[in-house]
Assembly symmetry: C2
């Protein structure tokens, strides 16, 4: 079995080294934009999505140099979302992982522009020849990540999340919201190894199924942490959930939510049965996501 701490810290170190290199500190007039981008992304996050990319690439013997660029791109997209979601017009969060959020530190205008630039940079990285020698792989990575990030994925999920503050959603709608908001980017991270390895078969589908179950485990966990008043899974300050806003916990109750998460984590791991021990990192990550305490 893999050790989760070693696994996450290795993924974090690799990804951060790459991000540091891809985001140089310019001396030009616009330097503050890059400072804000660096501040947003080099903030000591858990780097769960990069760990998934690296674990997925390992399954297919993909070179780490290629995989870590994809890991960096996923983290940039994730950070773009956090940066914009923290804005006053959206979730209005002043803190992120105990530090001032990007707009508190740099102002709203810079935070908006930094988020935009992070998103553009993610696609620039994927399309670059260093990511993969085969241009079809690069185009496929851009295709998959832009869909996962866009109006039918992460950004659309955030839109529903805002609507959910005033409208009541049922369990199906909450599941769809979470699948879009979190699940699609998880799915991209988990499948990216198969895209890089040019695998398009039952093995890619197994990773897709794993990712969607894992995404739901992650979100149920976040809702449970919120309900218990503990810092949420995305580095947010502990926050009283918006009155009336439906979560897995308000709909299912705590006990059933716990049970559902355990069932889904188990199911996620079973999707990996077609792989040998090279999938142990993915198995370890699934257990970690189920049991995480912050």
């Amino acid at each position: 079995m893999s050790d989760i701490d070693a696994l996450l810290s290795e993924a974090a170190a690799l990804t951060e080294k790459t991000l540091d290199r891809l985001l140089p500190k310019p001396m030009d007039t616009e330097a503050v934009l890059y400072e804000a981008m660096r501040y947003a992304v080099l903030d000591g996050g858990k780097r769960l999505r990069p760990a998934l990319v690296l674990a997925s690439a390992k399954l297919f013997g993909v070179s780490e140099n290629c995989a870590v660029r994809v890991a960096a791109a996923v983290e940039l997209v994730h950070t773009q979302r956090l940066t914009h979601d923290d804005l006053p017009a959206l979730d209005d969060d002043e803190l992120r992982r105990g530090n001032p959020s990007v707009h508190k530190k740099f102002g709203e205008a810079t935070a908006i522009l930094a988020g935009d630039a992070l998103l553009a940079l993610a696609f620039e990285i994927l399309a670059g020849p260093e990511t993969h020698a085969d241009p079809l792989v690069r185009a496929n990575l851009v295709s998959a990540l832009s869909k996962a990030a866009g109006g039918r994925g992460m950004i659309g999920g955030q839109m529903i999340d805002i609507i959910a503050e005033t409208e009541t959603l049922d369990l199906g709608a909450v599941t769809r919201l979470q699948r879009m908001k979190t699940g699609e980017l998880f799915a991209f991270a988990c499948e990216s190894g198969a895209i890089l390895g040019r695998i398009d078969s039952a093995r890619r589908h197994a990773l897709h199924a794993y990712a969607h179950d894992l995404g739901l485990v992650f979100q149920i966990g976040s809702h449970l942490l919120d309900a218990e008043g503990r810092p949420g899974g995305e580095g947010k300050a502990a926050k009283i959930p918006t009155a009336g806003k439906e979560t897995f916990v308000t709909i299912l109750g705590k006990e059933r939510a716990h049970g559902q998460a355990a069932m889904l984590a188990d199911q996620a791991i079973r999707h990996l049965d077609i792989f040998d021990e090279r999938a142990d990192d993915l198995r370890t990550i699934a257990r970690f996501v189920l049991e995480r305490q912050s």
Copy 2:
């Protein structure tokens, strides 16, 4: 000679048909996001950048079906910028081409998310197999557009524009700002035909040079329109320039600005000398950009 009205209206009709198809109206919870994206992009703009893409593609015999997808992607990126620039934290514009700006119509949160989704969609379109059969062309398009849009291009230019409100820039710095803010996206539009036609030679460099001169003509023109209190070239309401903010007109004076624009337009057209009459559309557009009255 090409007729500019016919040229622009044909480019607009083609591009809008494609955008309409690429932005379906969903019936799901997040429908408002797509409504806001459609409102932002299907707003009767002049479609100058799409016209440049189509004119550039014509030079190399690229199929219109491919070129129009690139034209749509460029227009989405341009619209993303306008949508976010109009936000209260940036330029705080309540009107765009005489209509409420996206955040006035849909609220700030939706405007921020719609801008994000427009950017993601632009890359999704370019990476899709319908844009070109050769995946290297698709990857090159994504590379070029993400650089033109990013922190070293359009978004970085907007950052400098914000900094320029409190710091004094000299002519070199204003030129660099405008080159990033407007010029890079113009350059992508003009070079996209060469990317689609797999031309990497003096002909692509000529288009690059044409585009950068044209971008400056466009910006000097916008500053002149602003200085004369007429509606600006980007569909903005007439606006008193921010006190102390340097523009080509405050630095050069009106007369020299006019002269500079005429000289640059002439130079832009001369860069096209290596092309035959197939470049007439680009020549016509350069004259139009110099003489435009709004």
